[in-house]
Every structure is written in C-alpha cells, then in structure tokens.
C-alpha cells in the first residue's frame, strides 16, 4: 500500500507541474495533458475537473494559498466575477488579437478560447427530424407538454444564457421584460423536470422520460460518437453563442509555466486538435476554414448567431435568475408543504 501511494504521488520526477482547474471534462483535459507533455517533457500537467461555478468557488476559497495555476473554462459571467474578486492576474497571450473584441476582457485577465453553442435537443428514437422543434418558441407547443426536460438553469451557464437571451429579446423588442417572463412561465408549464446535472438530463432523455431539451452542442456531438440517439438542431431565430475563456490565477505557484500553457492552448495546433477530437469550436477568427474538421465547417455554415445584448444580460443575470427561481420555477405543480 505504501509503495503504491508513493508511486502514485508522482511529482518526484523533477518535472514542474502546472495545475489546471477546469469544467471541460476528462476527454478534453486528458487529450491536452498528453499532447502538451509530449511537447514539453519537463512539465507535468495536473488537472482537476469540476463545474464552472465550482472552479470560481475553489479559486476564491484557496486565495490565501493558491493551488491552481490556470483557470480554464467557464462563461464570461463567472470569469468576470473572478476578475472583480481579484482572483486573476493579467496575461495577454500572443493569440489574443485574433479573438474578437467582445471575447476579450479590458484588463487582459481572461480571453475566449472556445465557443459554446446552445441548441435544441431531441431524442431521435422517438421524435423524427420533421417533428422536432425548429426554434425556441416551438418548445411551447402543446405537443411537448410534460416532454421537456431541462438542466437546472441556476447551475448552468448554458441555460442562463438562453433564458437571458429570451428576456433580453423581450426588452429589445417590446421595451419591457414582461413578454420574456410570460415565455419562461409557459416553458415552465411545459417542463416535466429540471435535472441536477447534464448526466441525468441525458439519462432521462435517452430513457424517454422526456423527449426534447435545450443544451450545448459539444456534449451532444460527444454523445453521438458514443452511439447516443440524441440529435440536435440550431434554432432558426438564432443561437446565442457563449465565450468559453481561460485565465491566469492570481499568485499562481507556477505562473511562468502557466503562461506557456495558456499560450499553447490558444495556439493553432491545440485548437485544431480539440476541434478534431472533442468537438470544440475555436473562438479565434483567423484560422482558415479548411484547418477545421468537417463538423465544425458544417456548424459554422448552418448556425445563425443571435443578436444578443450581452451587457444587459451581464447586468441583470443574477436578478433575473433569482426572480425566475422564486416566481417561475415549478409554479405549475401543487404545493408540497405541511
């Protein structure tokens, strides 16, 4: 047992470690770990996988004695909170100029690396492509009553963005939030369940406890590769594209190594590797289309980006979700109290 322990403890091998906190999941992180270590034999990439909110919590919690070097992944909304709390330090990688201006942060604290695309999801074993919802509004069709299962939006950047888009659209088109709230109340009435995590969402959709949902493209493509019957469609009225960022942790124990890692992650080689292997769409706009795998080219051709007032969402996001949580969620169901 002792031998096993010391053997596993590793790190006595003279390599410098770079510690990455990330919600990107094992597939992507293992891929990058191997590729980077092959390139830099002197570096040991260590990663800890957790939810994007958890990354923020953990970095904040360890601020007195930082353990992480790189904060890798999560929407702007969470990164901006980390920036406000002084949890990040500025670092401008050389690829930063190729990232669109609205994916950059003014103080160089974090930059968009990948794009996340919210999409409509359906179980193709039970719903044909013709019947499947084509736009966000189609989810409100009586046909899907009690067939909608969605991820608990409080814990999900993707769902927060979609709900934010609905409300921001309402403000932009009618001058008030009211129409958006009505929409969300109608969606709530259609919704059978809010699941705790994506795993349960997929489980329940696959087992046909519900048939349609809203989720993010990368996960569905990964599931399809594993033979899942879940199918997706871009909403015709537009997809609110989310930036997925990377940043250098304040007082990182291995800041120099972390800078080199961030530089590499946003470089062409790593971006095309993850696009090919784990379906991540690069945020950089300067990559030639033919360097991207076919699925990515198809996505870029099919998808209509939605015009979204991101500042409005950023400003009101927390209040909106709190209001939703208290006045909209599960109001259709009966009271459960004593």
């Amino acid at each position: 047992m002792l031998a096993l322990f010391t053997g596993l403890a590793g790190c006595g091998d003279g390599r410098t470690s770079v510690t990455v906190y990330s919600p990107h999941g094992r597939d992507l992180l293992e891929l990058l770990e191997k590729a980077y270590e092959a390139k830099r034999p002197d570096i040991d990439v260590r990663w800890l996988d957790m939810g994007s909110q958890e990354v923020y919590d953990r970095v904040r919690f360890e601020a007195a004695n930082p353990q992480a070097d790189v904060w890798f992944g999560g929407p702007d909304t969470i990164f901006s909170r980390g920036a406000a709390d002084g949890l990040l330090q500025p670092f401008r990688p050389s690829w930063a100029d190729a990232v669109p201006a609205d994916s950059q942060q003014a103080d160089d604290l974090y930059f968009g690396v990948y794009l996340a695309c919210p999409i409509l999801v359906y179980n193709s074993a039970a719903v044909s492509a013709e019947e499947a919802p084509r736009d966000w509004d189609d989810l409100l069709d009586p046909r899907w009553r009690d067939e909608v299962i969605i991820r608990d939006p409080l814990a999900s950047g993707t769902m927060r963005t979609v709900f934010g888009m609905i409300l921001a659209r309402s403000v932009a088109e009618t001058g008030s939030e009211e129409r958006g709230w009505q929409w969300l109340r109608r969606l709530d009435a259609q919704t059978k369940e809010y699941t705790l995590n994506p795993a349960l969402l997929f489980e329940k959709l696959t087992r046909q406890e519900g048939l349609v949902s809203i989720w993010e493209l990368t996960d569905i493509l990964l599931l399809q590769r594993r033979g899942s019957p879940l199918e997706y469609r871009f909403a015709t009225s537009g997809t609110p594209i989310i930036d997925d960022s990377i940043g250098l942790v304040a007082n990182a124990p291995h800041a120099d190594e972390a800078r080199a890692f961030i530089e590499w992650v946003g470089g062409e080689e790593a971006l095309s590797l993850v696009a090919r292997e784990v379906f991540r769409l690069p945020a950089r706009r300067d990559l030639p289309a033919e360097s991207l795998p076919p699925w990515a080219q198809k996505v870029l051709a099919e998808m209509t980006p939605a015009q979204v007032d991101w500042d409005l969402i950023e400003e009101n996001g927390a209040r909106w979700m709190e209001t939703w949580d208290q006045t909209v969620r599960a109001k259709g169901s009966e009271s459960q109290d004593l």
Binding site: F5, E62, A125, A155, R207
Partner: protein
C-alpha cells in the same frame, strides 16, 4: 482518598491542557466564523441578516429543513427501534447474519447511493417499470420527487443509527431489572413502557440527535429529488450559484443556528443524551421463539426485509457493470461488462482517490482514537468541570452540520497568524484529514467513554498496588478491557471518514481528492457506470470494515 484518585488528581493540569487543545480544534473555528459573520470583517454585516429575514423563501427553506429533519427522525425511529428489539431480543435462524445485513445502509456510498435509488424507484426505474408492465399501465405509477422521496432516502440511510443504538443499549441493559419487573407482576407491555424504554432513553435521544443533524446537513437527496422544494443546504448552493456568496454565508450561519437550537432543546428535554452507545454489557437472555412457525415466519420476514434493504446496493452493483451509453429504454441493461472496473484500474490517476481516501480515513481514525481515548480518560478520571468540558468538546462536532463545520475550519485556517492560533492549512493536504479526524471524534470519544465507564476502578488500583506503572496498567489492564468499545468506535469512524462527501467537497485539494469527489466528477462527466464502480469499491471496503469490526466489537 484512595491512592488511585490521588494519583489522577496530581496531573490535573494535563487534562486542562488537553481540554484547551480540543477547544482550539473544535470550538475556536466556530467562534471565528460566528465572529466574522457578525463582526463584518469579511465585508458584510447585519444588513444581510435583515435581508434574510425579509425574504419569505429563505424562511420557507429553513422551515422545510426543520420539518424534513424532524420527520426523518420520526420515520427512522419507526423503522430502527423495532428492528433493534427484534434482533437483540429474539432468537431465530439467521439472526446474526441478518443483523449485520440490516446495518448495511450505513455503508451506502454518498451520491451514487442516491442515484441507485433513482434507478430503482425513479420514474424509469426497476420497480415502477415492473409495476407498469405487470398492471399494463401507460405511465409509471409514480415519480420519485419532492419531500416524500427525500424522506424515503433519509429513512433508509438513517434508521441504522436507531437500530445500532437500540441494539447496543438493549445489550447493555441489566437482565435482572427485567426479571425483577416480571417478578413484581408487571406484564410485558408494562415492563417495556416502564422499565425498558426509560432505560433506552439516553441512547434513543442520542440516535435522534444524530439523525436530526445528519438530515439537517443532508445534501444529495434534497438536491437530486427536491427540485423547487428547497431546504437550507440546497438553498445555500442556489445562492452561491447565483453569485450571492454573502447570502450563502448568512444561510450557513442560520443553518448552524437551527442546529444549536435543536441541540439546546434536546439537552433541555433530556440532559442525559448519549451520542454513541457502543459497548455491550451482560445482556438479558434472548427470547427464543418457541413455536417453529413463529421462528420461521420471523426469519422469513427478516430475509425479505434484508433483500429490500439491499436492493439499492444490488442496483449499484448492476449499474457498475453497464458500459457507458448502452442502457436506454430496456427493462434490464442489454450489455454487462467489466469496462468500468477496467477503466478504474488501468490508470493510476483513477486509483489515486481510493488511496487518498484510505490513508486519510486511517490517519483520521488513528488520531481520533488517540484524542478520543485521552479525552475519555480525562472525563472519567475527573468528574468536575474539566471532565464535563472534555465530554462536551468531544461531542460538539456532531452537533454541527458537516458543511458548517467544514466552512468554519476553512475560514479559521486560511490565515497565517500563529499568535492567534491560526495557521495556513487551506490548500495543503492536512486540512481534510484534520476535518475527518474532528468529525470522527464523537464516535471514538463516546465509545471510549462508555467503555471506560464500565471498567471497575478497583482493577486499576489493584494493578497499581501490585507495582505496575501507569503505562503498564494502561497497556496490560485498561486497553485490553476497553478494546471492544474502541474497536467498534474506530470501525464506524473509519467508514464515516471513508465515505464522507459533505466535508470533502469543501476542503479537498488536488492531492487529497477522495472517492466521493471522484464519484461526483464521474457523474458530472456522464460516467454513471464509473461512478457506480467507485461506489461499489467504497461499499466493499466499508462493508468489510463493518463486518470485521462488528464481529469484534459487537453490533455497533
């Protein structure tokens, strides 16, 4: 004054030192956290408490936490106490093995244990599907949701406290009392109500307190089944997810306040509340069921019960053999294989959490055993203030929900100020095992205490008179006598630390990542099978520890 007591009183300052040390470990972090909450050194103030009180949904979550916990106590007692009586007081074929099986829910791993419930009783789970098929229904007969589901899981996993405490207390019950009652003409019912139950009261109160606090801190069941039905633990997470960290802290303090009110009420109602009944004395003889029919009926019912109780474990085992993504709408999984276990052993970094959990649980148990035994020695040797202080300090960690305790430790040890008794432990591998140790302290401390209390002081004196030194007496007389109690306490302590989720999620680091966190991460990555495989390993180790120690140290 006897020679023995003079010797003990001579080293009185040592006990005070020990009490001070324990107070620093157990009480100080709570004071620091409470101080920060009220003093506003973290940038917030009483305003937030005002906000808390002005919001009806915060109140509602607090109220729900209370009544869910109260009902959990009620249902757990309803299941656990009769089972304790059945297995301790009657004899029937298979009693020993069944008695151990019935305690197994205590070894249901965190998170995946609840997931197993979902696979078993959830809308597309085995039981509803079987009913649906049998009765030809279009829809599942029920959905596992809301407070009823939470209570079901709580009752299942917490009745064990009542069961174990009842058994231990019954085993310690002096048989002659019952005989006396019978001789005086009391019927069985009257004996039960007037003699047995009052004698069980401290143990039952202890089990009730433990169940109440565990369910107050319970997270996975309300999170998974609650939905919009928020209790305080899930409300804290919702606040954090919404970026309102300060409100989350206020909610944590309110949860702690609820726990303290409950503890206070309990102490008021029953000053003799006992937190771990573990030692067995000379038990009254078991009633052997005479009629063969009654014997076999009892045994049969016992086996049926055991099967029902083991269904979640069996489900977990089954899921662990299902390769990812192969099980969809079929009643039974179409493919079974060893892929998940293969994935687990093929990469050293996936075995790492097992090693982490094992060494941390072992270290925590050893430390808790040492501290708990020392404190119990003090509490028994010195009946005055210091004794009572030692006894309360040892029990304190159990009167606080795990989350609160973890946050308190993290707050206290995130500052490097040795002159204030605060050290920088956040981010180091030491904080988590320390937290385990402190959470384990009530288990080892109370079992050492009850062991030592039953020890005849004359034995130690005899040993001293015969010329044995203090160490020799401790080693050759005291330790062998209290060994069963210590071993039983250590067994439960080890299992508790091994499977802990609530404390770990706050305090883990990359180097101390325990099994429960790996389970969480596997679930997040849609790897239910791998999570289940971890769960099964955890279950096996806990089960083995339980059986091993259980055989040595009695039922508890």
């Amino acid at each position: 004054m006897s020679p023995g007591s003079r010797r003990r009183s001579g080293s009185g300052w040592g006990w005070w030192l020990l009490a001070a040390f324990l107070a620093w470990l157990v009480g100080y972090p709570l004071l620091i956290t409470g101080g920060e909450a009220l003093g506003g050194s973290a940038g917030w103030s009483l305003d937030y408490f005002g906000t808390f009180f002005s919001r009806s949904h915060e109140w509602l979550a607090l109220w729900r936490s209370f009544w869910i916990s109260a009902l959990s106590v009620f249902f757990s007692a309803l299941v656990g106490v009769p089972l304790g009586f059945l297995f301790e007081r009657t004899d029937f074929p298979g009693r020993r093995i069944l008695g151990a099986l019935v305690a197994l829910p205590v070894a249901l791993p965190p998170l995946v244990g609840v997931i197993a419930f979902l696979f078993l009783y959830g809308e597309s789970g085995f039981v509803p599907r079987a009913i649906q098929l049998a009765l030809g229904l279009d829809q599942a007969p029920w959905r596992l949701q809301g407070p009823a589901a939470i209570l079901l899981v709580h009752t299942y996993s917490m009745y064990v406290y009542f069961y174990l405490f009842t058994r231990a207390a019954l085993a310690r019950l002096d048989g002659s009392l019952l005989e006396a009652a019978a001789n005086l003409g009391a019927g069985r019912w009257r004996t039960l109500v007037r003699v047995t139950l009052p004698m069980l009261r401290p143990a039952l109160a202890g089990a009730a307190l433990l169940t109440f606090m565990t369910s107050l801190a319970s997270f996975s069941a309300p999170y998974l089944f609650g939905g919009s039905f928020r209790v305080m633990t899930t409300q804290i997470v919702a606040s954090r997810l919404n970026g309102d960290v300060t409100m989350a802290q206020v909610e944590t303090v309110m949860l702690a306040a609820l726990a303290f009110v409950a503890l206070g009420a309990m102490r008021l109602l029953d000053p003799g509340t006992e937190l771990a009944g573990t030692v067995r004395g000379v038990a009254p003889s078991r009633r052997r069921l005479i009629s063969p029919l009654a014997r076999w009926a009892t045994a049969g019912a016992g086996y049926v019960l055991a099967v029902v109780l083991l269904l979640p474990h069996a489900t977990l085992l089954l899921i662990s053999f299902v390769p990812a993504g192969t099980w969809t709408v079929e009643f039974l999984p179409p493919i079974l294989g060893l892929e998940n276990y293969g994935a687990l052993v093929s990469r050293p970094d996936r075995l790492r959490p097992l090693v982490n959990s094992a060494w941390m649980a072992a270290a925590a148990t050893a430390g808790a055993l040492l501290l708990g035994f020392a404190a119990a020695r003090g509490a028994v040797a010195r009946r005055g203030k210091v004794g009572r202080l030692l006894e309360s300090l040892v029990v304190l960690p159990w009167a606080i929900p795990g989350t609160v305790f973890a946050v308190a430790l993290a707050t206290t040890f995130s500052v490097d100020a040795p002159h204030l008794g605060r050290f920088l432990l956040v981010g180091t591998p030491w904080l988590l095992p320390l937290a385990y140790l402190l959470r384990d302290l009530p288990l080892t401390g109370r079992s050492a205490l009850s062991g030592l209390r039953q020890l005849d002081p004359a034995l130690e004196e005899a040993s001293a008179v015969l010329g044995a030194g203090r160490w020799r007496t401790l080693r050759r007389v005291v330790l062998p006598m209290v060994r069963p109690a210590l071993v039983a306490g250590a067994g439960l302590a080890f299992i508790t630390a091994l499977g802990d989720f609530v404390v770990s999620i706050v305090l883990y680091t990359l180097d101390t990542r325990p099994i429960s966190i790996e389970i969480l991460s596997s679930l997040r990555l849609q790897d239910t099978g791998l999570a289940a495989a971890y769960g099964v390993l955890l279950m096996l180790v806990s089960g083995a520890a339980f059986v091993l120690w259980g055989r040595d140290g009695g039922a508890a």
